[in-house]
Each structure stands twice: as structure tokens, then as C-alpha cells.
């Protein structure tokens, strides 16, 4: 079977260093499904590409014979502002989507670490930033989906209403699947209003114990932050707590005042440009450096987690910049030699205080020494059974993804 949207691959199409011989750029949902069917029929190891911002995530590719790019599927299909929902094609960037939604003072409350990140890639990786504190991760916002299957069919699940329990939720299934099960064609999301106003309280600490104590006190209060983050970097006062209040103006000021009354340190209140800058900085651990590691913990275990980060620095000898959510999710950007990086990641994996340790970015050398996804669990067998059904030839993100 021939498909007509193929072109030769170039250096710009690299998948974690591997230049694919062919790239398909389907311009319709059916062409997308046809490309996957072709790949499955020919048993071509295939990577689906959105903005290409997270293609280095996962295990290094053994071979990539075909890249299927969603670049031409980039339309906002519908913004139903009265219903607070939108349907968007997978290849649209989050940045463009939110620019469009802003016309009605609404947004898809996901933070983008990368300007070119597309909706399809964001859902496939379930990647989330500080805004998850209030709004959850992408999987929490997906209410409907259209998928392109490796047998050439287009199927949908969910719908365009926020409340709907009819049928299996395939939108959840592909969340976090890293392109291993099907192609994401379009996604319907529930949206939220853009807040009337916001302000961020930033507090600096020399001592991690005080940060952890303040974080716990704020977390147990009835203050309702839109985002609540930690940052650890080099310097005199390496620990920062960042609490964002986004609501009506008077309520914002009252909550900031309530928060200040609970903290032991001195804080600064940021608004406008300074506020945007401090939150943009919370996403910088996703790129640069020699490795990026993501992990989770139970919120009350923050003190030992901060100690672990310190040990990675002092014992393993790696540079650590860390951003995390007080709810227990964080990303560390590491610098150092491969052996030191591997030791630091081993330290995280060996700790009972953290889990779900995933090496997102790193050199091939490092990825050879460290299992990218970490030890599996019993339910992986279920995931593999689902994978066999949806991708019987095993072509999608072959050998790279979590299943």
C-alpha cells in the first residue's frame, strides 16, 4: 500500500539522534490512519511526532523507519466557550491554542515547558507543570478523543460534554502512553476561565527544614492556591517556596495576607512580569543540563526528599536544580559525569521516600547504564495485552516507550 504524504527524512526530523529515512505528514485524519496502517503492514518501527520537543524522552531508538508528523493537523476545530470546552487537532501547539482561547478569557490550564509542544505530545506524555495543583494533569482535562489505529481505522471515545460515562475512556488510556498505542488525531478538553487577577508569594530559605515546615502549614490551611511549588538551586538561600493565588482581586490580597501570616520566612509578592518570570523558571528543569529526572513522593515526605537532593550533590557529585510541586511531583535537572549521574539516579531509585523515578532526558551512555522507565509493576502485563491488541506488529515507538 502506498501513501502519498511521504518525504525523505532530514536531520531536523531526528528522533533522539536517529535520522528516519522517511517522514509522513498526513493532512487529514484518514491520511494519518492510513500512514499507520501502511507502517504496520510493512512492519516499520514508527515514531509519531508533534512539535518534537520531547522526542529524546524514552529509551534510545534501535531503529526508526518512519516518523509520522502531526504538523499539518493543527486546527482548532471548535471552541464552545459557553460550554467551556474546545476540540483541537493534535498538531496544534499549546501556545497557539491558548492564544486562541484567550479571546473568550478561557484557557487550557496546562503549562508548556516548550514553545513548540503540541496537544498530541502533551497528552501522550501527560506532561504537567505547576498548574496541576488546581487543575490536574492533561488526563484530567481530556473529555473526548479521536485516535488513528494501526489497522487504519479512526475511532473516538468520550465526547464533547464534561460529564459523560458512556463507554471506555480511551482518552485516559493514551494519556502517558508515549505514542505506543495509537495516534492522537484530536482531543476535546474542558477549559477553565482565565483568572481575574493573580499574585505569587515567593519565600527564600537557607534551610530546607524551614521550607518543609512552611509548605506543610500552608498545605494544611484553607488557602486555595492555583499553584504551589518548590525550587532548589545553588546559592546562599537555595530553597524557594512559590505560592500562586489566582482569583478575584480582593480575594487575592486576602489570601496572600493569610499565607504571609503562616510562613516563618520573609517573602516577596510578585505580580505581572515578575510573576510570569518566576513561574517560567519552574519549567526550566525540563531542558538543558546533562539529564532530567522526574519522580514523585508523598507530600509529607518532603524533608527526606530534600535531603536526598542534597546527598546527590554532596555524595554523588552532581549539580542539581530542582523544581517540584508541593503535592509531591518534581523534576531534577542534573549535571555531571555519566557515572555520577547514574549514582544519583540510583540513589533516588534506592530510596523508600520517592517513587516513579523516570529518566526523561540523558545521553545514550547514561540511558545504557540506567533503565529509563524504572522497574515495572504487575499491571504492566495488562498494559502489554492492550498494546498487543492496538499495535499487533509492535511498531509504535518500538522499544522506546514505557510499554
Amino acid at each position: 500500500m502506498l501513501i502519498d504524504c511521504l518525504r525523505p527524512g532530514t536531520v531536523a526530523d531526528r528522533v533522539d539522534g536517529e535520522v528516519p529515512p522517511q517522514v509522513a505528514e498526513p493532512d487529514s485524519p484518514q491520511a494519518f490512519a492510513d500512514a499507520l496502517k501502511h507502517a504496520s503492514g510493512e512492519r516499520l518501527p514508527t515514531v509519531i511526532r508533534g512539535g518534537g520537543t520531547k522526542l529524546t524522552w524514552g529509551r534510545p531508538p534501535a531503529a526508526v523507519d518512519l516518523v509520522v508528523s502531526t504538523t499539518k493537523l493543527n486546527r482548532l476545530i471548535a471552541h464552545r466557550h459557553g460550554d467551556l470546552t474546545a476540540t483541537v487537532q493534535a498538531g496544534m501547539t499549546l501556545r497557539d491554542l491558548n492564544a486562541a482561547l484567550n479571546a473568550e478569557r478561557q484557557w487550557l490550564p496546562i503549562d508548556h515547558a516548550f514553545d513548540e509542544a503540541t496537544i498530541g505530545g502533551i497528552v501522550a506524555t501527560n506532561d504537567a507543570g505547576p498548574s496541576r495543583h488546581r487543575n490536574g494533569t492533561p488526563r484530567d482535562l481530556v473529555i473526548g478523543i479521536t485516535l488513528a489505529l494501526t489497522d487504519g481505522r479512526l475511532v473516538k471515545a468520550g465526547g464533547t460534554v464534561v460529564k459523560n460515562v458512556a463507554g471506555y475512556d480511551l482518552g485516559k488510556l493514551v494519556s502517558g502512553s508515549h505514542g505506543t498505542l495509537a495516534g492522537i488525531v484530536d482531543v476535546t478538553f474542558k477549559l477553565v476561565p482565565v483568572p481575574q487577577s493573580s499574585a505569587t508569594l515567593v519565600v527564600w530559605y537557607a534551610d530546607s527544614t524551614r521550607l518543609a515546615r512552611d509548605a506543610a502549614a500552608l498545605d494544611a490551611s484553607q488557602i486555595e492556591p492555583a499553584a504551589f511549588d518548590i525550587r532548589v538551586e545553588d546559592g546562599e538561600r537555595p530553597y524557594q517556596l512559590k505560592l500562586r493565588i489566582a482569583t478575584s482581586p480582593a480575594a487575592r490580597d486576602a489570601q496572600i495576607a493569610a499565607a504571609r501570616a503562616l510562613i516563618s520566612g520573609d517573602g516577596a509578592v510578585l505580580t505581572d512580569v515578575a510573576e510570569r518570570a518566576t513561574w517560567a523558571a519552574q519549567l526550566d528543569t525540563m531542558s538543558e543540563g546533562d539529564a532530567t529526572v522526574r519522580f514523585g513522593w508523598l507530600p509529607a515526605r518532603l524533608p527526606p526528599v530534600l535531603t536526598l537532593l542534597e546527598e546527590m550533590r554532596s555524595v554523588d557529585g552532581v549539580g542539581v536544580t530542582f523544581t517540584g510541586r508541593v503535592l509531591g511531583a518534581g523534576v531534577a535537572r542534573l549535571t555531571g559525569e555519566v557515572a555520577a549521574l547514574a549514582a544519583a539516579i540510583g540513589r533516588l531509585r534506592g530510596s523508600a521516600d520517592v517513587g516513579n523515578v523516570v529518566l526523561l532526558r540523558g545521553s545514550h551512555d547514561l540511558k545504557e547504564r540506567v533503565d529509563v522507565w524504572g522497574p515495572g509493576q504487575a499491571s504492566d502485563r495488562v498494559a502489554r495485552a492492550v498494546k498487543k491488541t492496538l499495535d499487533p506488529m509492535g511498531i509504535l515507538n518500538a522499544g522506546r516507550g514505557p510499554i
Partner: protein, 482 residues
């Protein structure tokens, strides 16, 4: 079912926990949708996850279908027994295993009731957010199966947003942990698929939920209107103002009349009442509540009553939550429908329902979650009048068609179950349904786990049904799947 299988069940669960007498089985013939009934061969009441596992292993080995059941409050026949099969009732798995306030997590067995979680954590200032109307009696296991919502899901989401991890017995009897108490478990979100799968993919034996800090303030108002379209306009304006209320509920004249007859909430005389609740930090609620009140008056509300204290708030909610059962006061029989329309289509669809009521001669009361467009039409009929039961069912189906026509769903929270599976093709194509069936077959190749629910039968697609089969290419060792 052979005596040998029954004997094995007795040895797993104990004699007293295996029910076979017809009078004992009567309770388990249906859930809260009583017009669908089937007699199971046997009901077992296991006392532990290990017993559930052994029962499922036995069923798998013997090819016996099984149906998990919580407290039987489901409204779509999701726990309807399979003739000749086993009902696995999880009522005895009712322990609260861990309350971890510092980490805002509670671990429970599936037979614990929804409200019990809130009762356990309320002294610490926390609560469990999903609040289906049946929350005093419904089980968490059932909530997981149905992805239960409630009046407050507009702001707080559904069960799927509050369950972090589950232990589940898979259809082959293996016990697995799905999801993670910690954020960001890598891989496909199997937990998200399991929740809302209506007991067709696994039986959960343990659930970790997250709990939320009680909001500082809750404020509730009730606004009376002369028409549902005016009330609907108020809802649209509230949303357009960038306000996400904790709850927005509407009741029409017939529903109000029924509620008054049953629990006397003392609602003002009106064609429609709108209930709006805001919660959160005091300063925020105060500021936004003033906006909501102004919108209600501007859109033509004849009376706006603001609850001044908890007692008045409870009175308003009593009227709302009693509305279903209260229908019994105004009609000998009634049929509760559950459908969803996009919020902006509410006036149009309500108009069609009104016309249908006049045309059919059956009274239809409407109680609904206006914030998320989830309708609950209550179709009144009298089964003693020949043909009325069938007419009511026909009317209920017609309403679902209106929901689908408006771009909505055939169920917002009651589930598809046995009741609505034949309506699934109105929402989904043959291919959509076929892929769902394939997914189910991947997890339950023997088709023993709550068969006959969710997906329509017979299959619509020409494809050969059944589980994954090895491809000749694989057999020849030319390719492998991963």
C-alpha cells in the same frame, strides 16, 4: 453450575458466605433498576481480597461468568446477575485500612460507603469530594466501577479525579496494583480506564483516594424563576463571568411539587428553581457570591433566598436530593433518565422534552445538574394502565436521542450497564465500539467479567470476535510484539 463448583466456593468463602436458596438470592436479582432482573446461580460474600481472587480463579478455570456487586444502588443494571453465573458481593470488604491526613490519602476496601470516608476524616477538617446522591449507602467499589460524580463535580470532578491507586483482581485471577499513590506513574493510564468500566475489566479490592481540605466558606442560594430558559440564562451568565460554582442545580415545577410533598423544603412557588453554591476562601466566596446574586436578579428571578446558616443550606439540599424519591408522591411509578447535553443546549432540549411530555401525555419532571448539562428527567407513569410502562420506556429513549442530537451523552453518571447498551450505537460508530470490545477482550479474553454490560450485543462489526491471536508471522518467528 455443578455441585462441585459450589463446594469449592464454600471451601473458599465458608458455608455461610455462599447463598443458593431462592429467597436469599432474591435480594441480588437486581440493583436499583428493578425492572431488570436475573437470577444468579449463586451469590458469594468473600471477606478478603484473597477470597475474591480465589473465587475469580475458580470462575476462570471453570468458565463461569461473574458479576461484582457493591451495595446495589446502581441505576443502570450494572450489577445485574448473569443467569448461571456467580455474583461476588463485596459488602464484607468494608474496612477503612489507612487514614493518612498528612498525605491527604485514605485507603479503603471496596465495600466502604462513600460517606464513610468523609465521616472518618471530617474531624481533621477534610472530606472526600465526589458526592453522588446515594452517598450514604453506595460503596466506593461501585463508585470506581461507575466513575460516580455528584452535585459538586462541576468544580471538583468525578471519582476518576480522586482515586489514585487501586488493587484489582483481574479476570484471570491475578491481583495487580493499578495506578500509584505517588504522582506520575509512567505508562498508559490504566486506572483511568478501569474507573468507569462498570465492573467489566476487573474487581477492585482496595482503593486509595485523595481527600480535600474543607473549604473555608460555603454559600448557597436558591433563586425562583418563571421559566427554565430564564434560569438557564442565569447559568450561562455565571459561567461567562468566569465563576465556577461548586454546584448549580435546577428543578422544574413538577419536581418542586414532588419535593414539597415529600420533605417540605419550603421552596418559593415557581416554575423553576435554581440552586447555586460557591465554596472556597471567605473573601473569594463573598466577592463572587455578590456577582451571582446580581446575575440571578438581573435574569428575572422572582425570589432569591440566600441560606443564612447550615440549617437553611441543608434544607435547600434536602429538597434537591430528595427529588427522585419524592416523585413517588405525585406519580404511582416513575422512570429516572440520565442524559447529558452541552450546557448551552439546555433550553432547546428542555423545550423538546416539554413537547414530548404533552404529546405522550406523561408528566416529566426535570431535576438536573445545570452546570454540566446533566439532565435527570423523571418520567411519570402508572403501570396499572395498560401500555404506560412501555410508553414511559419509549419516552425515556426518545429523550436520550435528544441528548445525542444536541451533541451530548446517553449517560452522565448512572452508567450504561445492561439498561443502555443498545443506545451505544447512537453515540459511537461500529468501529468505536469494536475497539472498546477489543480492549475488553485483551483484558478478559474469556468474556467472563460482567458480560452483557456496556457494549451492545450482538456485535455490530463483521470482524471476528475474540481475544488476541498469534499472527502467522509471529508464529514463524519473523516478528515479535512488544
Amino acid at each position: 453450575m455443578t455441585d462441585q463448583v459450589v463446594q469449592r466456593l464454600r471451601s473458599i468463602c465458608g458455608d455461610a458466605a455462599v447463598l443458593r436458596e431462592p429467597v436469599q438470592l432474591l435480594t441480588y436479582e437486581c440493583d436499583a433498576l428493578p425492572h431488570l432482573r436475573e437470577k444468579p446461580a449463586v451469590v458469594v460474600l468473600p471477606a478478603s481480597a484473597s477470597e475474591v481472587q480465589q473465587v475469580v480463579q475458580l470462575c476462570s478455570a471453570e468458565g463461569v461468568p461473574f458479576v461484582a456487586r457493591g451495595h446495589g444502588t446502581g441505576l443502570s443494571g450494572g450489577a445485574l446477575p448473569v443467569p448461571g453465573g456467580v455474583v461476588i458481593c463485596l459488602a464484607r470488604l468494608n474496612r477503612v485500612l489507612d487514614i493518612d491526613i498528612a498525605n491527604k490519602r485514605v485507603t479503603v476496601e471496596p465495600g466502604v460507603t462513600n460517606l464513610e470516608i468523609t465521616k472518618q476524616v471530617a474531624p481533621f477538617g477534610y472530606y472526600y469530594a465526589p458526592d453522588p446522591s446515594s452517598q450514604q449507602v453506595c460503596s466506593i467499589g461501585g463508585n470506581v466501577a461507575e466513575n460516580s460524580g455528584g452535585a459538586h463535580c462541576l468544580k471538583y470532578g468525578f471519582t476518576v479525579h480522586h482515586v489514585l491507586e487501586a488493587e484489582a483482581v483481574m479476570p484471570d485471577g491475578e491481583i495487580v496494583r493499578i495506578g500509584s499513590s505517588l504522582p506520575d506513574a509512567p505508562g498508559p493510564d490504566l486506572l483511568g480506564v478501569l474507573i468507569g468500566s462498570e465492573g467489566t475489566l476487573a474487581i477492585v479490592t482496595k482503593v486509595v483516594v485523595r481527600i480535600l481540605r474543607k473549604p473555608e466558606t460555603v454559600q448557597t442560594l436558591l433563586a425562583a424563576y418563571n421559566s427554565t430558559s430564564e434560569a438557564g440564562a442565569a447559568v450561562s451568565e455565571i459561567i461567562a463571568a468566569g465563576i465556577v460554582p461548586a454546584a448549580v442545580e435546577m428543578m422544574d415545577a413538577l419536581a418542586i411539587r414532588a419535593a414539597e410533598a415529600a420533605v417540605h423544603p419550603n421552596f418559593p412557588p415557581a416554575d423553576t428553581v435554581l440552586i447555586v453554591e460557591l465554596d472556597g476562601p471567605a473573601a473569594e466566596v463573598r466577592e463572587l457570591f455578590a456577582t451571582v446574586e446580581a446575575i440571578c436578579r438581573r435574569t428575572g428571578s422572582t425570589v432569591v433566598e440566600v441560606a443564612q446558616n447550615d440549617e437553611q443550606r441543608m434544607r435547600i439540599w434536602r429538597g434537591r436530593k430528595a427529588a427522585f424519591a419524592a416523585m413517588g408522591r405525585v406519580s404511582p411509578n416513575y422512570y429516572v433518565q440520565d442524559g447529558v447535553v452541552p450546557r448551552t443546549k439546555l433550553p432547546e432540549v428542555l423545550g423538546r422534552i416539554r413537547a414530548l411530555s404533552e404529546r405522550s401525555g406523561l408528566g416529566i419532571g426535570n431535576v438536573f445538574h445545570a452546570g454540566d448539562g446533566n439532565l435527570h428527567p423523571l418520567i411519570c407513569y402508572d403501570e396499572r394502565i395498560p401500555g404506560q410502562s412501555a410508553l414511559a420506556e419509549e419516552v425515556a429513549g426518545e429523550i436520550l436521542q435528544y441528548c445525542v442530537d444536541a451533541g451530548g451523552s446517553i449517560t452522565g453518571e448512572h452508567g450504561v450497564g445492561a439498561d443502555k447498551k443498545d443506545y451505544m450505537p447512537r453515540m459511537f460508530s461500529a468501529d468505536d465500539l469494536d475497539v472498546m470490545q477489543q480492549l475488553r477482550d485483551a483484558v478478559d479474553p474469556q468474556r467472563l467479567c460482567n458480560p452483557g454490560k456496556v457494549l451492545p450485543t450482538p456485535r455490530l462489526c463483521g470482524e471476528v470476535p475474540g481475544p488476541y491471536r498469534e499472527h502467522p508471522v509471529e508464529k514463524a518467528g519473523l516478528a515479535e510484539r512488544f
